[in-house]
């Protein structure tokens, strides 16, 4: 059974339809990259999966269990689905260590010692252990985003959503963030990425989904989508990226 099933999901804000009868299924250990022009619904789709946004029609299931509709324990759901945002959204009044241990301490009820050991181990792995006592404003964008990833990983999520996590970064800081994602993929973390880093998507994804006007217009393995796209829109999108030197 698939880890995540998105079944005929439609989402509209007023009369504007952002997702339009979209279906997608994600298996465990899969890495899915969502690509497509701005406004095609990538971010909205991710935000619907952990229910930061409510869908209008259709349903979403995790391990066959419906997570949309009334009566779902959102706090419980969000423990299992991590999300990392484009703007990092670290808590500015907490140190790196406090940022990463807040949820384990207050949501999971983990012992402080255990939470801090775990956080330090993660920070060690990404080379930021020496920043544990610093506040976010002392960190570069790349460092902040790496801490934000650790903050999500501390909850041991079964699915990680990455919402254009390198879009706000200076170009030279992108690599250090992508390294972590590559490492997570190698360790078998199930991930969905909305991204504009085509080279990275091609390298790390098991499957590329090209979104167009709130629908999955075309999907397939990276080699196929980038090498031999079938759809006219996909071809046009990739052509425009090539022209801009982004592919």
């Amino acid at each position: 059974m698939a880890l995540l099933e998105i079944d005929g999901v439609t989402k509209h804000y007023g009369t504007l339809e952002v997702l339009s009868n979209l279906s997608l299924s994600v298996d465990e250990h899969e890495v899915i990259c969502l690509i497509g022009p701005s406004g095609c619904g990538k971010s909205t789709l991710l935000r619907c999966i952990n229910r930061l946004e409510e869908i209008s029609l259709g349903e979403i299931r995790i391990h066959g269990d419906r997570i949309t509709g009334p009566g779902v324990d959102l706090d419980r759901l969000r423990r299992d689905i991590g999300i990392v945002f484009q703007g990092y959204n670290l808590f500015p009044h907490m140190t790196v260590l406090q940022n990463t241990t807040l949820a384990p301490l207050k949501v999971l009820g983990m012992k402080r010692r255990e939470a801090e050991d775990r956080a330090m181990a993660f920070l060690e792995r990404i080379g930021l252990a020496h920043k544990a006592g610093d506040y976010p404003d002392r960190l570069s964008g790349g460092q902040q985003q790496r801490v934000a990833i650790v903050r999500a990983l501390m909850m041991d999520p079964m699915l990680l959503l990455l919402d254009e996590i390198t879009s706000a970064l200076d170009p030279e800081l992108v690599a250090e963030v992508l390294d972590i994602v590559r490492d997570l993929a190698a360790r078998g973390m199930t991930m969905m990425l909305a991204t504009h880093e085509m080279g990275f998507a091609r390298e790390v994804a098991n499957r590329i989904c090209f979104l167009q006007a709130g629908k999955i217009y075309e999907q397939g393995p990276p080699a196929e989508i980038f090498g031999n796209p079938k759809g006219e829109r996909t071809q046009a999108f990739l052509r425009s990226l090539k022209k801009a030197g982004r592919l």
Partner: protein
């Protein structure tokens, strides 16, 4: 058709020279001369006033050393203004004489700056002198009424003791207000349908007590509750009623400050916290409120200063605070100097806080300018 070269050049020179001359000398010299005249007048006025008011003060039994020092300071200030004005005038003359246009311009600018400086000092000195005259005219009626030093000295300990009541009222209500208004603000920002009843109640409370003048709230509670014969509530001291009334009034204002702070926290912070599985209340407790408090410390401090001053309102229900005590003394002596003591006490307590708030605001502004 172009004019011959030499003609154009001489025309240009003529216009430029005229412009320079006008720009450099005339305004500066005029301003400096006017300033010098005003400075002479000011000096004369200050000197005459010092002589007159000083001898009057000595005849009223004020220590002559204090009078001499104050008089000397005033006279010295006036003399200094005279010197500045004179130098400004001399510089403007030198500027007019100078053959070097740039040197003239620099001298003129200096003369002008000094003249402005002297002018503003003249204004300040004349205002202070007028104030001094206001105190002594009509056989020193004003000073006697408000600043009877003997009475201030004699009543100071009583007034100071009563000021302790103001401080108690302030301290207890401040603590209660911080807690109470946070509860109201949290109720005011409850989400969804389930939060609506409490949200409306919080809005109603805020509207009611921000609309009611504090003095009326104090009056109603201070005189009303004792009449209700309710257990506990009807037997409290007037200080306790004052605390209840001020907490209700200021709780309404302060909860609005909190709410502004809570709503000012960026929604991405809430999204991040909720995405980690934190509930609404845990998100409020660990993320939103701590961030909100940081942003609202200056307005909270302003409310705090305002609360301190409004502790004087409790005099209306008979609490013997500093104001009430001083009113009793004023009535007995037919003189308001004891009330002046209270005024001075309030000013002394609040001014450092006002400066502190200014510094906090300035620091915040710098931080925002620095980009977070």
């Amino acid at each position: 058709m172009a004019a011959p070269d030499h003609l154009m050049a001489s025309e240009e020179d003529g216009r430029a020279a005229a412009w320079r001359a006008r720009a450099v000398t005339r305004t500066h010299r005029g301003r400096a001369a006017l300033t010098l005249a005003l400075a002479v007048l000011t000096f004369v006025a200050v000197a005459v006033s010092v002589q007159h008011i000083g001898s009057f003060a000595v005849s009223q039994g004020i220590a002559s050393i204090a009078v001499v020092v104050l008089g000397a300071v005033a006279a010295l200030a006036a003399a200094m203004v005279l010197v500045i004005a004179a130098r400004a005038f001399l510089k403007s003359l030198a500027s007019a004489r100078s053959a070097d246009v740039y040197a003239a311009r620099a001298l003129g600018a200096e003369a002008s700056m000094a003249a402005w400086q002297a002018l503003s000092w003249c204004g300040a000195l004349l205002i202070v002198t007028a104030g001094a005259w206001f105190m002594v005219v009509n056989d020193a009626a004003v000073s006697r009424t408000f600043f009877d030093l003997a009475l201030i000295r004699d009543s100071a300990s009583k007034v100071l003791w009563a000021f302790g009541t103001n401080i108690v009222i302030f301290a207890v209500s401040a603590v209660l207000i911080v807690i109470w208004s946070l509860l109201v603000a949290v109720a005011r920002t409850l989400p969804g349908d389930a939060g609506r009843p409490l949200r409306f109640l919080a809005i109603a409370y805020g509207d009611l007590f921000r609309g009611l003048p504090a003095i009326i709230t104090i009056y109603l509670i201070g005189f009303g509750l004792p009449l209700t014969n309710l257990p506990v509530l009807s037997d409290l001291s007037s200080t306790a009623y004052a605390i209840i009334a001020l907490t209700l009034t200021y709780g309404a204002y302060t909860s609005e400050v909190y709410r502004a702070g809570i709503e000012g926290v960026h929604h991405s912070q809430v999204a991040a916290a909720r995405s980690l599985g934190l509930s609404h209340f845990k998100t409020m407790r660990y993320v939103v409120v701590p961030l909100a408090v940081r942003n609202i410390i200056p307005p909270l401090m302003n409310n705090c200063i305002s609360l301190q001053k409004d502790t004087a309102l409790v005099a209306i229900i008979g609490t013997i605070d500093a104001f009430n005590q001083s009113k009793i003394i004023a009535a007995n002596n037919f003189n308001l100097s004891a009330v002046t003591t209270v005024a001075i006490l309030f000013i002394v307590v609040t001014i450092p806080q006002a400066r502190f708030v200014d510094r906090l605001v300035e620091r915040d502004r710098r931080r925002i300018r620095a980009g977070g």
